[in-house]
């Protein structure tokens, strides 16, 4: 027997992502899905952000990792709430994992939730985790053609963070080329060039976070 179906293979994931999104919306929490290759500096960016903005926002991190709890420990050391998801070799987080880890977090009064995805530029892009925006990270120690090689991420992301710019004198990374490829894919992409190590350029990223948080929770921001 032939059955014509036409169903989105990711529909189960998208349905759960909708539940995550609705729950986070009730609390007015800005949720960002951080995606990059391994070693770009997702955890370093979060460590800096959690420390530098600790006085302004209540923040938490859902930490996706293949095996260890190293990253969650680094994040927890800043005093922020952190939940660890070990994917046991799985290459991405999905909305079900996020939904169950929400139960381990105190959402009351939370301003920003970061989802640190597994280091990978392909699969995490396909699985909606219920976030408000995807943040694509890239570092100048990688190839400047990453946006060209992994177009879906840069097409869907709202923000691109270019990390490790303090290394520019030592690498052949062409900033203009990376920017050009990325904006070709997504002309509204906001790009921040920064270094988590030296602190250079972080203010732009922080300003974007403030703006995005305000858009998510307008009445609160007015009160402050």
């Amino acid at each position: 027997m032939q059955i014509p179906v036409i169903r989105n293979v990711l529909e189960a994931n998208e349905k759960t992502a909708g539940q995550v999104r609705a729950r986070l919306k009730r609390h007015g929490i800005l949720t960002l899905n951080m995606i990059s290759s391994p070693g770009t500096g997702k955890t370093s960016l979060l460590e800096r952000t959690l420390r530098d903005l600790a006085g302004e926002f209540r923040m938490a991190v859902i930490e996706g990792d293949l095996q260890t709890t190293n990253d969650a420990q680094r994040v927890a050391a800043t005093g922020a709430q952190a939940v660890q998801i070990n994917t046991d070799g799985g290459c991405h987080l999905d909305s079900n994992m996020i939904l169950s880890s929400l139960d381990s977090l105190n959402l009351e009064g939370m301003d920003i939730l970061f989802i640190e995805n597994v280091g990978n530029l392909v699969c995490p892009v396909e699985f909606d985790c219920g976030e408000d925006a995807k943040v694509a990270l890239l570092s100048v120690a990688e190839g400047d053609d990453k946006p060209e090689k992994y177009p879906l991420l840069f097409n869907l992301a709202k923000v691109m963070v270019l990390n490790k710019i303090d290394l520019m004198p030592h690498v052949d990374f062409d900033l203009a080329r990376a920017r050009a490829f990325a904006t070709k894919l997504n002309k509204d992409l906001e790009i921040f060039e920064l270094s988590c190590r030296s602190g250079e350029g972080l203010f732009g990223w922080y300003d974007w976070l403030r703006k995005a948080r305000m858009e998510k929770k307008p009445h609160d921001a007015q009160r402050a």
Binding site: Q2, N8, L10, A12, E126, N186, D188
Partner: protein, 114 residues
């Protein structure tokens, strides 16, 4: 692996609705931008049906080419692979902001069952 899992899950749902027990073929259409690696999906699908009533079922994979629309002149154009994303609009030469009308999908489109 998660894709193969959702795929089988959906196939089983459709089958139980029709009182069918055995899958013979599933057809999946994926966009050129979707990130699906056909060999990998095939491998995982085969691994998951081993030792089940569906063992030996075929997976038909078809790639949907990119269809882009130029935001400036409205021209619709395309290409078989993702490189088309980087080409200027054939109508007006605009390089930026082409809207992806087709290319991100991942659809289970047909099942053959017993």
């Amino acid at each position: 692996m998660s894709l193969a899992q959702s795929l089988l899950c959906m196939a089983e749902e459709e089958m139980s609705r029709r009182n069918c027990a055995r899958l013979l073929m599933a057809r999946v259409e994926y966009g050129a931008l979707s990130g699906v690696v056909p060999e990998a999906l095939q491998f995982c699908f085969d691994a998951m049906i081993q030792g089940t009533p569906h063992e030996g079922a075929r997976l038909e994979l078809a790639c949907l080419p990119l269809r882009l629309r130029c935001p400036f002149c409205g021209r619709v154009f395309g290409g078989q692979d993702k490189d088309a994303l980087h080409l200027p609009c054939p109508g007006c030469g605009e390089l930026f902001g082409h809207i992806v009308e087709q290319g991100k999908e991942l659809i289970l489109s047909r099942l053959e069952v017993l």
